[in-house]
Amino acid sequence: MIGPAMERANEPPFTRQHLLGIEGLSAEEIAYLLDLADGFVELNRKSDKKLQLLRGLTQINLFFEPSTRTQTSFELAGKRLGADVVNMNVSRSSVVKGETLIDTAMTLNAMHPDVLVVRHHESGAVALLARHVRCAVVNAGDGAHEHPTQALLDALTIRRRKGRIAGLTVAICGDILHSRVARSNILLLRTMGAKVRVVAPPTLLPAAVESLGVEAVTDMQRGLEDADIVMMLRLQSERMQGSLVPSVREYFHFFGLTHEKLRAAKPDAMIMHPGPMNRGVEIDGVVADDINRSAILDQVEMGVAVRMAVLDALTRRLRTAA
């Protein structure tokens, strides 16, 4: 069977062993993964979605932090490529019982997986684990550090809707401080030539945020001015009870995305959200459901395709060796 990946066999392959972050990826590598994913989008819309590219390979989804959507997306991606996919959820309590991350890595290594998809609540934990296993590792989110497949799926969504990434103005709004989605998106969008603004109260901005190559704005109206893309981030409720933000209603008043605030952006500005949404906290439900503006469900669809592309690219080395 001719898969999208096979058609592109002549292109320079993505030769990395792991995908631990967007940091360090070149524009060519990113474009290559997005091109690959484009092909999988078409496949996923057919009734027969099954390929055999990863047949015989084992993929373990190792989640130290629960995430139904990301895990499901990776599981579907692996299965559609023909891999055997196993989900392993490691609760924090069993980590507290004494098994360290490296113990877990060694244990899994002995089971000979080919791909490990790892989500962990600590920054740098996925890279640490990758140093102790032989297989390919995909970072499915580490602490406040990176979430590369989210940035790739956002980029694919933008590219398919807007036809390009370079030259666009993207406003990323919300809890930048704790957001791995923001960091990966900033890195990717900057690499691809977009202009990035981050919009948040100062208590939710990282120190020296301008050093990431973005403009920081604390006024939502000004932050959205002439934006092509408005990317909203989730704000966790425990951060809105007086520690970083006084209250939910105050946050919504100043930073919640409404049609009124959106008027500052370009008329065709697209709205994105990595999910799950807090309606009435960072985004008005009416805006989220506006099918002319909101790309939120597109993002979910692109997520599966992008993860298929990543799995395909990372395992190519194994498949040619076999």
Binding site: E23, T100, E122, S123, G124, A127, H145, A207, A208, L212
Partner: protein
Amino acid sequence: MSRPVLVVNARLLDPASGLDRRGGLLVVGGRIAELGPQVTVALAPPGTEVVDARGLCLAPGLVDLRAGFGEPGAEHKERFESGCMAAVAGGVTSLALLPDTAPPIDDPAMVEFVARRARQVKLAKVYPQAAVTRGLQGAELAELGLLKAAGAVAFTDGFKAVADARVMRRALAYASMFDGLLVQHPEEPRLAEGGVMNEGAVASRLGLPGIPAAAEVIMVERDLRLLELAGGRLHFAHVSTAAAVAAIRAAKARGLPVTCDVTPHHLLLTEAEVEGYRTFAKVSPPLRGEADRAAVVEGLVDGTIDAIASDHCPQDQDSKRLPFAQAAFGVIGLQTLLPAALALVHEGRIGLLELLRRLTVAPAAILGIEAGRLAKGAPADFVLFDPDARWTVTEKSLFSLAKNTPFEGRTFRGKVVRTFVDGRTVYEAET
């Protein structure tokens, strides 16, 4: 007592007297009997061990203001045997031990325990520092007077700042009664809470919670005010920021009885070491940016910073092979103290005698101990070192049980060749 020792053909370096010339040194009965250019083999009493230094530097043994072992409570991290061996291999002949053990050194019996263990091991001289507050809890004063009488050379809550201003005021005032020295870990704990590295661009990119540089100077400035209010004697450990150096410089100019130290890692390394989530670069206070690093070097050179201390903090592999935020703070540093500090001499930032002053007589004066000098009648604690010999730091080359050095793989110029305590050879490098 050991037999007499005569070292000839050495470059004698004594910062206290400004001595820097070729000569010899005679030890009788564990003390320096004679030193200078006139000391030759002819002077040796019968049975003397004669050591030809072949032009090596001979300096007072180093005095380390701040080192921690794991005894009692964490013997797998460092014991007196391994810690003192690392010390003498680094030319350190006296060290002031931190009280954050389990149980902590907050009771006269614990002070005596330290003294007894040091006597048994008989390598470096170990001076206990005692807790400021009971159980290092920051609330109630420990028995400062009795602890001092038992032999404590200073009071500190170790890696924890004395956070409560009222407790700090009272500790300063109370200890002033017997000229007790208070040593503060200058960090505003609420500002630093949850932070794991220096706040700034690197932390933001790595997605790690930061500790702002201001957390240090806020505590320094508060304590300087308390010192003026309460009296006493105050020492700030491991100063790491430009702002804190400036505040202490101004306080010294006003005549306040304040001193401070810096670690070799804050002199030589920056937050860039954390790249790749290297947990061996996780220390408290955190490694800072280049401007702060340059400022502490400047502070050391101009004398604002009185001493260099290792802040030796052994951690086992299980405490460090973790995601960065979960890993323990601390690096070892006894054995690399002198070689690391010598880097500043090789860079031309400071003269050799001035550097040695900050490693010997200056810290000895802060602690009020008889150490850090080459003088007739002084204890024969000294080190022979080659300022130019190169050696590479490897796990194997370290005597500490713990191997958490931020300098692994680094080649230092400067090597300890032989260390003497009370005239006994306690370390001799393999050649």
